[in-house]
Structure formats: C-alpha cells, structure tokens
C-alpha cells in the first residue's frame, strides 16, 4: 500500500491543478469509452459494459474506504442498494405523478440517499477503525439485508421493487428505450464520478485519510481528528456507492434483496482487492476482470467460482498489491529503460507457468466432467479439442502439462529474479 504515496508524490508541490500529463489518461479513457460501442455493437456487450461501469464506480467508492482510508467494510452493498432503491422509487413517482425529473440526473438522488444512510451509520461506526469498524459494518449489513425481506413497503420483499426508465422527461428527444442510450448515460456518470473521486483523493481530507490509515496517532498529534477524517471518507464513499446504485436502477430497472446482502458486499471486496487497493486505477482493472469472469467465464465452465477463489487467494498471498501492483512494479524498469531485459526471462518462465495452469484447469475440468456428467456422455470439449473424458490419455496429458510446465517455470524462476534485479538497478550501482 505504500506505493500509493509514490503515486501521489508525483503531483506533490504547487503543481498547476490541470496539467496535460495529468489530464491525458482521462481524455484517453473518455475517448475509449466513446468508441467502445462502435467495436462491440451487440446489446449483450453493451449490457456487460454497463455492468462493468457500475462495478467500477462501486469499486472506486469502496476503495475510498479500503485503500485510501484503511477501513475494511463487510457491508458496503447497503449504501449502493439503498441509493438504488431510492432511485427506483423516484422513477415510479416520476411515472405516477409526472414529476419533472429527467432520467439522467436520477443517480444524483441515489448518491444523496446513499450519503444520508452513510451519515447515520458512520456517526457511530467510524469511531473506531480496524476490527470494530469491520464488525459494525458486518452487523449493519446483515441487519439491513434481513430487514429488506421484512419491510415490504420500501424494499418490496423478495421480488424487489421495479420501475420503468422510459416514463421520465425525454432529454433532447432521447427516451432511453435502447441499451446504447443507457450506455452513454452510464459512461458519462462513470467518468464524472471517477474524476470526482480522484479529485477527492487530492484534497487535504483525502490526503489525511491516507495519514490516518497509516498512523492514526501521528495524525491526531498533527491536530486532525482521526475519527472525523474517517467519517468524511465514509460519507463520501457512501455518496458514490449511492450513485452506483442509481446507475444500477437505471440499467436494470429493478432492485432486490440481492443488492444489499452480504454476498454483494463480499464480492466488491474481492473486486477491489483483485484489482489492487494501492492505486487509484486498481479497482477499475478489478471491476473489468471480475465482470468478464462472472458473465463470460461462467458461460464456459461450471466451476468458475473455484477458479475465482483460487485466483483471489493466490492474489492475497503472492501479490497483495493486486493486478495494479503488478503493473506498477514495472514502472521503475520502464523509467530506467531496462524493461527490455525482462522480456526474455518472462517468456521463459511465464509461458510454462501458463501451460501448467492450463494443465491444472484441464485436470479439474476432466475430473468434474467424470463426476457430474451424464452416463454415456463421455465426450467433452476442452480448449477447442473434443475427447473422451473417461479415457486415461487426456488426463495423463493434462497432468504432464501441469507438472512439466511447473518444472520449467521453476527452472526459469532464478533467471527471472536476476533479470528483475538487474532491471530495477540504475546503471552505475545500487539505488
């Protein structure tokens, strides 16, 4: 997590607020978002991209707590869910009483409502950090999720609350009938909220959140109340989670208990940590990867959650900085102009490693197929090859790939470590 400070240090000092190098990534991202629908035209691709955008906003909001404030929450779905529920209710009011609220501004109400809930919960939960905060968040999360099936008036019970986005005022003649219109609306809110969250991390209060995370006592000595700093981050995070909820409401037009429960809270923790909590863009990578795994991999294999679990545990054990951490590890070699040194050893180690992992996956898939497929249906397709799962040959091949890949990767590892060391050492001696 210390790499966060590294990231911040670049813009330290009295640098102008907007610089070209600072604005460039944002412009590229925006352009990218605008062009995506031209590449992926189908509605399902748009739906998946919308889902990604919502997860990104939510994960960034979550990382305001976890990454920037060091607060581990097990019930953050509550703020997104509450914001979303409010938005669906608003949508229905718009329909019933023809309130003059155009759809595109709806997420802001979700945000305000999420913030309101965070204000109430934060008033007592942010007094302490660490385990106490985590446990209160778990308790409150469970309570509200459980209430959602009991309090039918607001949460609609098990079937949830649904609305219709097309009854609002048309904006410039757009009625949001089509997925593409919703996509651009979501993309707009994604860029706006990501930018705001980024700017928040640059405000004094955002910086203080880092200080409180790393050493609350010192922060207190500097005259800042650790509790209030945590409280402000918490409320801001609740606001953006509520915006994500509002976007969810616009996209799916339905909110259910699922939006509040522990599983959703847990998966956003997963998303954020996979992506990397130490960098602003970490959760973005995590959200994209997770959504792809969830919607695409689950169509390909039934044991995708097993892979996800392995991936997650491996990330925590070996790359606590997440994917973003892995990427940023290469910043120094890049700056030194020595990244080229890494290519060959990477190739020699990672290719066998990938083969080995494919071997493991093949073994698992074959075993799963033998155990769970219909009798007589021995044929299975794996990596575009069809074969008989009950014959020993494929299993032997997979095991051989697994072991041989592992052995080769093991053998290449010292070379990679050496190259890594070299690439990170500036010419002319140690750092």
């Amino acid at each position: 997590m210390t790499s966060q400070t590294q990231n911040l240090s670049r813009s330290r000092g009295r640098a102008p607020l907007v610089t070209l190098s600072g604005a460039l990534p944002w412009l590229i991202c925006t352009l990218f978002l605008l062009l995506m629908p031209l590449i992926f035209t189908s509605n399902s691709a748009l739906t998946i991209m919308n889902q990604m955008a919502i997860t990104i906003v939510f994960a960034l909001a979550y990382n305001m707590l976890l990454g920037q404030g060091g607060m581990l929450s097990f019930g953050h779905a509550v703020y997104m869910g509450m914001g979303g529920f409010m938005c669906v209710h608003l949508m229905n009011y718009v329909e019933d009483m023809s309130l003059p609220i155009p759809l595109p501004v709806l997420p802001i109400f979700g945000g305000l409502f999420g913030m309101g809930v965070a204000l109430i919960v934060g008033s007592f939960s942010t007094r302490k950090a660490g385990t106490v905060f985590a446990m209160i968040s778990l308790g409150v999360g469970e309570l509200i999720a459980a209430c959602s099936v009991i309090v039918v008036a607001f949460f609609g019970g098990e079937e949830g609350v649904s609305g219709d986005r097309t009854y609002g005022l048309p904006v410039f003649g757009i009625e949001f009938l089509h997925q593409i219109e919703v996509y651009y609306l979501t993309a707009f809110w994604l860029v706006l909220s990501a930018l705001l969250m980024f700017l928040f991390s640059r405000t004094p209060i955002g910086r203080m959140a880092n200080a409180v995370r790393d050493n609350p006592e010192r922060a207190e000595f500097l005259g800042y109340s650790a509790r209030w700093v945590r409280f402000y981050s918490f409320v801001a995070s609740g606001f953006f989670a509520g915006i994500a909820g509002g976007l969810f409401a616009v996209n799916y037009e339905i909110l259910t208990e699922e939006n509040l429960n522990l599983a959703t809270s847990g998966s956003i923790l997963l998303v954020t940590f996979l992506g990397g909590v130490g960098f602003f863009f970490g959760p973005i990578i995590g959200a994209i990867l997770f959504t792809l795994l969830q919607t695409v991999l689950s169509l390909q294999t039934e044991i995708w959650q097993l892979y996800l679990g392995v991936l997650f545990v491996a990330t925590v054990m070996f790359f606590p900085g997440g994917l973003a951490g892995v990427i940023m590890m290469h910043a120094l070699p890049m700056r030194l102009g020595k990244a080229g040194l890494l290519i060959k050893p990477y190739f020699k180690t990672l290719v066998p490693a990938v083969i080995s992992m494919a071997g493991v996956a093949a073994v698992l898939e074959i075993l799963y197929h033998i155990r769970h497929a219909a009798l007589g249906e021995n044929e299975m397709t794996l990596f575009w090859v069809s074969f008989d799962s009950h014959s020993p040959l494929p299993l032997i091949l997979a095991v051989v790939a697994m072991v041989a890949g592992f052995w080769l990767a093991r053998r290449g590892a010292p070379e990679m470590a050496e190259a890594w060391h070299k690439a990170n050492t500036p010419d002319g001696g140690a750092v």
Binding site: T41, A45, E158, S162, L297
Partner: protein, 414 residues
C-alpha cells in the same frame, strides 16, 4: 454438457458475432436458472430434464417444421435477478426467442417485467417466457403478461387441491401453518387460511407463522411449538434446506401427523429424510411418478435414469413445456413469429405423459392440470429419488385442479 474453456476477450467477441449467425438451423431455448451456488443442484437437475425432454420428445421424432431441432442453451443466473437480466440479454443477442426459467419467483418477476419491456421496445425480436416452476400466484393474476406461460400449478391451485384432500380427512382438526418470510411463503399461508375456512370451517388453525428465509440454523423451537400446539397436520411451502431442517426437526421432536409440503422431494431432500420422513411427509405436485401413469411414462423415466443416474424426474411438467412448445410452433408454422406461437399456446390441450389432459387457460396463461398428493415412502416405489430407495407414491388425485379458479389477470394482447 460440453463446456469449452475460452477465456476473456475471445468469448466477448464470440458473443458479438453470435448475434449474426443465430437463426440458422436449431430452435434455441435459453435455460436461465442456477447452475452454480446454493441452488445449483435444483438447477442442474432441471437442465438435465430439459435436455432429455428436447431429445426424446422433439429431436428423436425429427424435430418440428422442416426438421428444425430443439437446442437447450444453459445460462447460469446464480438465482440473482441481476444476473438473470444480463443472461437474458445475452440470450436475446444470440437470437434466442424462448426462455425457460423456474427457480425463485423473485427472478420470475424480474424476467416477466424485463421481457415485457424488451418486447415493447424491440418489436422485431420478441421473446416468450415459459415458466416451469415459479408459482407465485401474482404472475398469472395482477402481474400477468401475454409473454408469460406457467406450466406448474400456482400456489393457490396447489392449496386448493391440498385442502380438498384435507376436507376428506376428518381426523384433521387442528392445522399449523409455517413458511418462509417472503412473498411465496405469505401466499401459501394466506391461501391455506382462506380455503380451510371455506372448506372445513371446523378446523382450528393453531399456528400461522413465518420464519426468516435461509437464516434459521435450528428449527427445534418451532418444532416444539408445533408439537405443543396439538396440531394434527402441518402445512408448509418451505423449500431447500429450510424444508429439510424443518421436517427433520418436527419429526425428531415427536410429531407424527402429516406434513403437507410443496417441495419436499428430490435434490437430496428425499435421501436425507429417509426413514424418518416415512408416513409423515406428503407432497403436492403435478405429474404421477409412482405408480407410473403408463408404460410410456415408465419407459421415459427409465431412459432418463439410465442416462443420468444421479438425476431425478422431479419436475415432470418439463415434458409439457417442451411438448406444448413444439406443438405450438407446428401450429403457428413458424418458430420466429412468437406472437403466433403464443396464440397457438393459448387454449391448447395436450396429453401429459405423466397424467391426463392438460389445458393452457387463455385468460391468464396458467396450465390447468391434474394435481397429485403423494406420500414419502419406500413401499411400492417404482422410481425412487436420489437413489435412496425412497420416493413419492400417489395417494390422491385431483382432476383438472383449479379449472374454474378466479383470476384477476387483465391481459394486454399485442
């Protein structure tokens, strides 16, 4: 179940390209139900029954129209409404026009609404929704749509049949109603109270309560209350582990009367009840498994069990869903014009493999069929569940249950 592993972008691309090459030969049917997570066993068992039904009833007979085959395309919704909507979109993009789903009325509500909106917004690629197990009465009453067809009897119809049986059982004087705290559990309880008051005003309802769904670890306190209330019979709409734990706990604490249930069979529940459920557990369902309705039905089940030794035919209505869809497509003369197919389904009469005639009521798209009340036992079981030696043997039959049951459905037809 062939499942190639293709990672990441390649698959996304495949999705986008898939839209173009969709309407080739096969008639694809999207199966949107849980294939992972806590309810996966129910979902994957349903998938097996669909694939088998499509093969046996349609494909082996040469398909429909000019030889078009049925293909069941599985989508894992993890019983989440959100995931269901995403998978629905993916299915629609693949050119799929028929969606089947059953687990959880919450998902069913989300799907009906989403399909209603989709069909309104995209009149060119409309979709039909064949619901085979979500039994919330609202789906064929206040929330009915033209695109939704239900092949299972709804909770009210089942309760109607159940109370008919209770009416004939004079020993039952006190009834205890218990259910999960959500729309379906409440619907069951309300129907039970209403119908018992109509048919057997002398019966005393000694308990009527709800418990949190999926959260109760130990049902002993509930069982104590049931036993000490002196109830002669228990009625519950519980499913999954809530069903099993409630039943076990009630039996363990000394209850001997019948427990009337909606979902106490298959998915490991029959095996887990085993001896303890004998003489206690009763099940209201459609489709007669034991004794087999006919030789054809017996042959069908045998063939299924030979193919899937771990599977159960615990949702016989799936044969109706597939069979009637095939008939409707033949009658409409087109698989792409779903409005004609829907109109052909309306009012259709069909011979159920596992009972007599069934009839798709046009007013609300509710399938009217015979209902059976069976007992959990190991005697006289031709086809058991979970390979446990135990199965459901039919004790009572209610013909064309709920034929004249009222509906508040005001269907808007295109």
């Amino acid at each position: 179940m062939r499942k190639p592993i293709k990672l990441g972008l390649g698959a996304v691309l495949a999705l986008t390209i898939g839209a173009g090459s969709a309407m080739a030969e096969n008639i694809k049917i999207a199966f949107i139900d849980p294939l992972s997570g806590p309810f996966a066993s129910t979902g994957s068992n349903g998938l097996k029954q669909y694939q088998f039904a499509a093969d046996e009833l349609v494909n082996k007979k040469g398909g429909v129209l000019d030889g078009q085959m049925f293909e069941i395309v599985p989508f894992d919704n993890k019983v989440s409404p959100k995931e269901s909507l995403i998978q629905l979109q993916v299915a629609i993009d693949q050119g799929i026009r028929y969606v089947v789903q059953g687990n959880s009325s919450g998902v069913a509500h989300a799907l009906t609404e989403a399909i209603e909106k989709h069909n309104k917004r995209n009149p060119d690629d409309r979709v039909l929704y064949l619901n085979y197990a979500a039994v919330d009465p609202a789906l064929t009453n206040d929330d009915c749509t033209f695109w939704h067809f239900r092949f299972d009897a709804n909770a009210d119809i089942k309760m109607d049949a159940l109370t008919d049986v209770i009416k004939e059982t004079p020993e039952i004087k006190k009834v205890y109603i218990i259910g999960q705290d959500y729309s379906f559990g409440k619907a069951v309880a309300a129907a039970a109270v209403r119908m018992l008051a109509e048919k057997r005003p002398d019966i005393e309802i000694v308990g009527n309560e709800l418990h949190p769904i999926g959260k109760v670890k130990d049902f002993t306190p509930y069982a104590r209350k049931i036993v000490s209330s002196g109830a002669d019979a228990v009625i519950t709409g519980n499913w999954g582990s809530d069903m099993l734990n409630l039943g076990k706990s009630v039996v363990e604490n000394g209850f001997t009367g019948p427990i009337y249930t909606y979902y106490a069979a298959g998915s490991g529940i029959t095996a887990a009840f085993g001896e303890s459920g004998k003489g206690v557990i009763r099940l209201i369902s459609q489709g007669q498994i034991n004794p087999p309705e006919s030789d054809a039905a017996a042959a069908y089940i045998e063939a299924f069990e030979a193919k899937y030794p771990d599977g159960n035919i615990d949702q016989p209505r799936i044969t109706n869903a597939i069979g009637m869809l095939a008939e409707a497509i033949k009658e409409a003369g087109s698989a792409t014009d779903v409005v004609s197919v829907a109109k052909a389904l309306e009012g259709m009469e069909y011979d159920d493999l596992f009972s007599g005639k069934v009839y798709m009521r046009p007013q609300d798209h509710q399938l009217i069929q015979d209902m059976f009340i069976g007992a959990h036992t190991d005697e006289g079981v031709t086809f058991d569940y979970d390979n446990s030696g135990y199965g459901i043997v039919v004790e009572h039959k209610v013909e064309m249950a709920g034929m004249d049951s009222p509906t508040t459905c005001k269907m808007k037809r295109p």
